[in-house]
């Protein structure tokens, strides 16, 4: 059964190694439990969160299905049910549970889900924007000045009251921007899913795919930037 171990392809070798039960060494067909000795198996680090939950790699998902699958896998992995098992099984249970909780948290939230998918598809790390998006440049520069002025002002003064009113307006505007971006993301999500559903391998499909990923990445990082600014603003005027 370990005839393939000598394969020179490292990745393949690793996969073969993982497809054996750590306990009884028999070949694994089951997902998380060995068919023969029924021992829990460590979830492979290469397994993406979508596959883990048995979901297609889509951006609009049925959260009810996600939740019930999460509960099902929690029952399979949680350390509570491994108290009487060996140290090795307890350790696998702990690792799998921690992984499962991270996976669920990531996929449950539409933004984190999209960021994660971008990571998978484009191998990107999260883009951390340090300067304002172009279309918001002026607005944000002005806002930063108002914020600085407010921080230095005497909070009881009339001037501070005026600044506060202005900041409230800015906040409302920025939150509206954030909602706009989320709506545009939602459209991109649907386009992505439709493209995946069609499963075409044409040049045109490939181009569209690249374009969607690029747009998504831009809007996601702009949204994060705006969100951080809003948080800062809220904390300052609170």
């Amino acid at each position: 059964m370990n005839g393939h171990i000598h394969n020179t392809d490292d990745r393949r070798e690793l996969q073969m190694a993982r497809s054996m039960c750590w306990h009884c060494q028999s070949e694994m067909a089951g997902e998380y439990f060995c068919d023969r000795c029924v021992k829990v198996q460590p979830v492979s680090k290469d397994l993406d969160y979508f596959t883990c939950f048995g979901l297609p790699r889509r951006l609009v998902i049925d959260t009810q299905v996600l939740e019930s699958k999460f509960y099902e896998l929690s029952r399979a992995f949680h350390p509570d049910f491994y108290q009487n098992k060996s140290d090795a099984e307890q350790s696998i249970s702990l690792g799998n549970s921690a992984m499962l909780n991270t996976a669920y948290r990531t996929l449950r939230d539409p933004i984190q889900r999209a960021e994660y998918l971008l990571d998978l598809e484009a191998g990107s790390v999260k883009d951390i924007r340090t300067s304002p998006p172009a279309d918001l440049f002026e607005e944000i520069l002005e806002l930063q000045e108002t914020l600085d002025e407010f921080r230095e002002s005497d909070r009881t003064s009339e001037h501070a009251a005026r600044l506060r009113t202005k900041l409230h307006t800015d906040r409302t505007n920025l939150e509206e921007r954030q909602r706009d971006m989320e709506a545009r993301l939602q459209q991109l999500f649907s386009r992505w899913d439709a493209l995946q559903d069609r499963g075409e391998a044409t040049e045109q499909a490939r181009a569209e795919r690249t374009l969607i990923l690029k747009d998504m990445r831009n809007i996601l990082s702009n949204r994060t930037y705006v969100k951080n600014i809003v948080n800062d603003l809220v904390a300052t005027i609170a």
Binding site: R75, H78, D80, Q83, L94, A98, N101, T102, R105
Partner: protein
């Protein structure tokens, strides 16, 4: 698998519970109520715990420790503001508080261990078996140091702590088991010293905590203190007497304040009475519920802030909560009920005894761990964000608060300068931006092979286990070697210190050992009496009347020895009874063989 008990280690009272055929029950006997006051006193006859120790609060205040839970996992600096309220002496050693009792000083986990031992003995006497494993509850908002201190206390008491479980979630298990509830519930838990709010989703046996928040320094003790302060101020104004120099009277005032608070949950007006020192007469005063509520209202309001934050973190509005459950003795106060009802817009549930429900839930969790209950599963969260200190003294968050546990985060570390052999890591817990404003959990030094700057790759895994306790592992990504990490807790006992305390606890537990011998002898005697009486009833006709009389004499001798405290006397009378009943045993065995009951074991007929 050996039985696992559930323990509620409370600020003012502690309880132990077990699972009896699918139903959790608290352990109490005819002579002892279920609640053991969390009080330890040093008397001329050694250390005592519970109700008898509580009597020493006014008699012997400097040597009677109460509310020790407030000091778990804390340094002296953390509790500076309230030192004046405690009559016993607190010192510090290595970041851990020490409580002076006579010649010796004890860490809070050691004092807690004494309470745990008392509960352990009670459970053993009641269940007739040795108890070595337990689930212990802590406030949901306890940080890592406080959880670790609780685990240490269990170890010192000779208990393997299989799980540290949060009090409000424990309560939800007991509540969910009984009510078969589905939907979203909020558990409002106001105990003797701590406050927690947890919001859970209950669905098909899964208890998923959505968010938790709280205040580890808000509880019944604080209400008592407000009333006591009022009384002390009035006594000073009216009688020109400063009771703060009389620690025995200070305790009397505190106890009277507590009693007044409890009575005002039922009555609208009461009279407070206090004897003054040195025969200076007596202080009396009327206190109305309105006055009490005026006094306590700011504290009750303070509990609502965490409730709002928990709602916000779970992304819910008060109207999304289907049921509100009240836990903890302080929720008996009508004002608390009103404020909670106003916030959530619905009548809170308080059918389960708020003093017992946490211990009952711990017993349910114990049953889950031992494999008895398989349809329920609790998915709890970590109450505080976990992170590390980065350049500039800023905290970088690795695991956010309200993340479902077990939870893990990985972080890669490297070096700044060539040949650097170590990287210092400072682990923090809290929600503030700057490292110094958060709780320091531990510091450790990663060992790094001397290489050019930036070449080493050490991956550190921070894992919060199902107890909410942090585990740290490091792996050199270049060599694949894992390294064990010596984590020095900032406010806790080191492993060696805990080891030593376990040893100590055996040393000065000579009394415990003899107490245990008595308990065990009594249990064995009870079993022998029961089986002998059964044998007499079933096979008395097989032996002479004289022999029956001899057995009866030995039986009553054993019964009276069993009432005494000498284990050797009990064992001696047991041997006498076995000797006296030998003829009966043989006769019954012969009889059963005659009747062809070979299948029966000897033990079944003796």
């Amino acid at each position: 698998m050996a039985r696992i008990v559930g323990i509620d280690l409370g600020t003012t009272n502690s309880l132990v519970a077990y699972m009896d055929k699918g139903t959790p029950r608290v352990i109490s006997t005819r002579h002892e109520r279920a609640m053991v006051p969390s009080v330890v006193a040093l008397t001329d006859n050694g250390l005592i715990v519970g109700d008898p120790a509580k009597e020493h609060l006014t008699r012997n205040p400097e040597r009677t420790v109460y509310s020790v839970k407030r000091f778990m996992g804390k340094s002296l600096a953390d509790v500076q503001g309230e030192l004046a309220y405690f009559p016993y002496t607190l010192t510090e050693k290595g970041g851990v508080i020490r409580i002076q009792l006579g010649e010796k000083s004890y860490s809070p986990p050691q004092i807690s261990a004494m309470i745990l031992k008392e509960l352990k003995l009670r459970a053993e006497a009641f269940l007739g078996e040795s108890i070595t494993k337990a689930v212990i509850t802590v406030p949901a908002y306890f940080n890592d140091s406080q959880r670790q201190a609780t685990k240490d206390a269990g170890m010192i008491a000779g208990l393997e702590v299989l799980r540290i479980i949060n009090e409000p979630t424990a309560a939800s298990l007991a509540y969910g088991l009984q009510k078969k509830t589905q939907g979203t519930i909020a558990v409002y838990d106001l105990g003797g010293g701590t406050f927690d709010i947890s919001i859970l989703k209950l669905k098909n046996g899964i208890f998923e905590v959505l968010a938790t928040n709280g205040d580890t320094h808000l509880g019944g003790d604080d209400f008592d203190q407000l009333i006591a302060d009022l009384l002390l101020k009035e006594i000073r104004a009216q009688q020109g007497l400063d009771l703060s120099t009389h620690s025995d009277h200070m305790q009397a005032v505190r106890l009277e304040a507590e009693r007044a608070k409890i009575r005002l949950s039922e009555e609208l007006k009461i009279t407070v009475t206090l004897d003054l020192p040195d025969g200076q007469g007596r202080f009396t005063r009327e206190l109305t519920r309105d006055q009490l509520e005026g006094l306590c209202s700011p504290l009750v309001e303070r509990s609502l802030g965490p409730c709002r934050l928990a709602l916000k973190d779970s992304g819910l509005n008060p109207t999304d909560i289907d049921e509100v459950v009240l836990v903890g003795g302080s929720t008996r106060m009508p004002l608390v009920r009103q404020r909670v009802q106003a916030l959530f817009g619905k009548q809170p549930h308080c059918e389960l005894n708020p003093d017992e429900v946490v211990a009952l839930g711990a017993a349910v969790q114990a049953d889950i761990l031992s494999g008895g209950t398989t349809d329920m599963l609790l998915l709890d969260v970590t109450p505080l964000s976990l992170g590390i200190e980065t350049m500039g003294g800023v905290m970088s968050s690795l695991i956010r608060r309200n993340t479902t546990i077990p939870a893990s985060a990985k972080e890669m570390f490297t070096t700044y300068v060539d040949g650097q052999t170590g990287v210092d890591i400072h682990i923090l817990q809290g929600e503030r931006e700057l490292a110094k404003d958060n709780r320091s959990l531990a510091r450790f030094r990663l060992k790094v092979p001397p290489l050019p700057a930036g070449v080493p790759r050490i991956e550190v895994t921070f894992l919060i286990d199902a107890n909410g306790i942090l585990n740290v592992m490091a792996k050199d990504m270049r060599t694949g070697e894992t390294q064990s990490i010596e984590v020095k807790p900032s406010y806790g006992l080191s492993d060696q210190e805990v080891e030593r305390m376990i040893e100590d606890s055996f040393k000065f537990a000579a009394d415990d050992v003899s107490a245990r011998k008595v308990i065990e002898a009594r249990l064995d005697a009870g079993a022998l009496i029961t089986t002998t009486e059964k044998s007499l009833a079933d096979g008395g006709h097989l032996v002479s009347a004289e022999e029956v009389a001899k057995i009866r004499t030995a039986l009553s001798a054993l019964a009276s020895a069993k009432e005494g405290t000498d284990p050797r006397a009990i064992r001696g009378r047991m041997a006498d009874l076995e000797q006296a009943a030998k003829g009966l045993t043989v006769a019954m065995l012969d009889d059963s063989l005659k009747q062809g009951l070979q299948g029966k074991k000897i033990s079944d007929v003796t």
